[in-house]
Symmetry: C2
Subunit: 116 residues, 2 copies
DNA sequence: AGAGTATGTCGTATGTTTACGTCATAGTAG
DNA sequence: CTACTATGACGTAAACATACGACATACTCT
């Protein structure tokens, strides 16, 4: 196991990292923004809007779906993806908490507040 | 070039993805939390607090440093890492904006508001 | 049924990340 | 100067991510 030594970290850290990973590719960021901007849940139109092959887009969609950040519902021939706004709001809180924690300190530059 | 087709996405999307990638590993999340919790900028003590070898921790530190999320200053024999709170605040805003955009929609479940 | 369309799965080539041992460097202390 | 400590750089093996073409499935329409 020379990889993924994710055990031994807190659940909180692992969860944050997992979601961050989902956002760690421009295509997935773009997908979420797309789904947010269109009220209607589009399907394979997503693929058409991105500069990637349909196969690759499907792959990104599956990744987001695996984390339940988006949901897919079959509607006849097409598939309808929508944001899981409920979960997104939770994630939002999680990130907000993390950043709040990380930004409380004083600015630390050359000769600044930090005690180095 | 079968990888990193990050061109063709907006600067905003790329930037968000870049930072998300930095947070996409529990060790890096832990490092930032550690630096935030200790007022003083510790150095290789970080390695001692994490369940990873010193080499690996250094690698994660370099990754965070490459994005300028943390700064390292040599103080004699030890090195002093501190959060770049200035930049972190910017990133915080960026994520806040993204999530604000993503969470405005209605909840979309089976038979819910979305027009599928 | 048969043609056509929308999706997802599979295989695969290539690039990237993770983790770590070993070595080189540089300051510290005796 | 010599031994010692703290760091980072280098090399490397294994796991993972990305991108995509080709195939399989399933629904629609005539």
């Amino acid at each position: 196991m020379t990889y993924a030594k994710t055990t031994a970290f807190t659940q909180e850290q692992q969860q944050l990292a997992r979601v961050a990973k989902a956002l760690a590719h421009p295509a997935r960021v773009a997908i979420i923004q797309l789904l947010a901007s269109k009220m209607t849940c589009i399907s394979g139109d997503i693929a058409a809007e991105l500069p990637l092959s349909r196969t690759t887009v499907t792959q990104h969609l599956q990744e987001l779906k695996a984390l339940d950040l988006i949901r897919g519902e079959i509607d006849g021939l097409t598939v309808c993806y929508c944001l899981n706004t409920e979960l997104l709001r939770q994630v939002q809180q999680q990130f907000a908490g993390f950043f709040a924690e990380a930004t409380v300190g004083p600015v630390c530059g050359p000769g600044d507040a930090c005690a180095c």
